[in-house]
Symmetry: C2
Subunit: 236 residues, 2 copies
């Protein structure tokens, strides 16, 4: 973003279908950028967040493609992509480290930068935020700095931007209200939802999501199967 | 490599099936490293080099996996992955820039680093060399430096090594003799060979390969369909 808040370079946004990237894509669109979206199927067990991404992109009126790298499931084993139990509880707890997919963000960013280069786009935008830092090394500011250097040297034209890197998820939820993001269409639940299509309300990302709306003082549009669990996990 | 030429960290080598990575994998094995190999199918038009990689790995007695990311063919269009003509002539000529797959090396390296991390390996080795620099930005020393920084920050354990980064392809061919690499099993031809399975002898990588053996003063074990063409392209 430049000084007056507008963007001039065409942007490919990594749209997971989650809350953060839904808000980011919306903010970019509202600011008048030429935005395209891409989702990467990296072998996560549930496709529901990819479906959410398609719905969000449609609502925003931006092109959207899903790149199916689900074969990586066989090569990058973790709780998210294998058959292990998804840990319940607070997102920041040690148990969530079992959800780490090795180098996932680096892979997605470099693929997106290749796609952006092929399309003549100058920016890849990712919605990583400060809440990701304790668990995911490839969401930290120093990683993003290295990744954009790698992309610039590798493509000669494409840079990586992570405008939410210093924000909390609560601040992102507040931005979502500010920019009228279709947050109700976004998907966070690592469990893939219950049998009625609701967020479970118990997995780490459900707890993190509910907490973010609470801390932001924003109405949570999410339909949780378990509406009470998250409050027991939140310590602030 | 440390001072005495031995390696202590287990290494995942990116084995394309070409000459350079065949020699690198061999050198690592001969030096006593614990080596595994991985090939990435990124959507190249011909699978023959992947078959060569499997044969080379078998000869060296190292584990080998192919990661099929050929879906990227649809997203990263270039002459190598599309239906355009492969340019003939010298590898270093401007026409070869049509063979650039945007950010290919970054994608392959980050995938390999994820695989290495999942397997507890500390090093990803790539056989990029100085002859790649003029055409492929993601084969240059500064790119490799950025990529290893990105990998270290993204995985916390895996680094990228490119021990041939300052070597010419001729120097690699000489190393191949020194370490008794099965160079005759490697594959370079971008055309996928002629109907009898021979290297065409006319595409950029065939010319580069023949030139390298010539400059190294090493017998070329390759069976070219056109044995004369490359000499007309070589200016040194």
């Amino acid at each position: 973003m430049n000084g007056n808040g507008d963007r001039h370079d065409s942007t490919l946004v990594l749209l997971s279908g989650g809350l953060d990237s839904t808000v980011l894509a919306t903010e970019l669109v509202r600011r008048g950028a030429a935005v395209q979206a891409v989702s990467v199927h990296y072998g996560q067990r549930h496709a529901v967040e990819l479906e959410a991404a398609a719905v969000v992109a449609s609502r925003l009126g931006i092109p959207h493609d899903i790149i199916d790298l689900s074969v990586l499931r066989h090569h990058l084993r973790s709780a998210l992509t294998g058959t292990g139990e998804i840990p319940h509880g607070h997102y920041a707890a040690d148990t969530m480290s079992a959800t780490v997919v090795p180098n996932r963000n680096a892979i997605m960013l470099m693929v997106a930068c290749g796609v952006a280069s092929a399309r003549g786009l100058r920016v890849v935008a990712t919605a990583v935020h400060s809440g990701d830092h304790p668990i995911y090394p490839d969401c930290r500011p120093e990683f993003i700095a290295a990744a954009t250097l790698t992309a610039m040297l590798g493509t000669e034209t494409v840079r990586v931007e992570a405008p939410y890197i210093r924000l909390t998820k609560a601040e992102i939820a507040a931005k979502g209200v500010q920019f009228d993001a279709p947050m109700e269409l976004s998907w966070s639940c690592y469990e893939g939802g219950d049998s009625t299509g609701r967020h479970c309300g118990r997995c780490g990302t459900c707890v993190e999501r509910a907490e973010a709306f609470h801390l932001a003082g924003v109405r949570d549009p999410t339909d949780y199967a378990d509406t009470a669990f998250w409050r027991e996990q939140v310590t602030v």
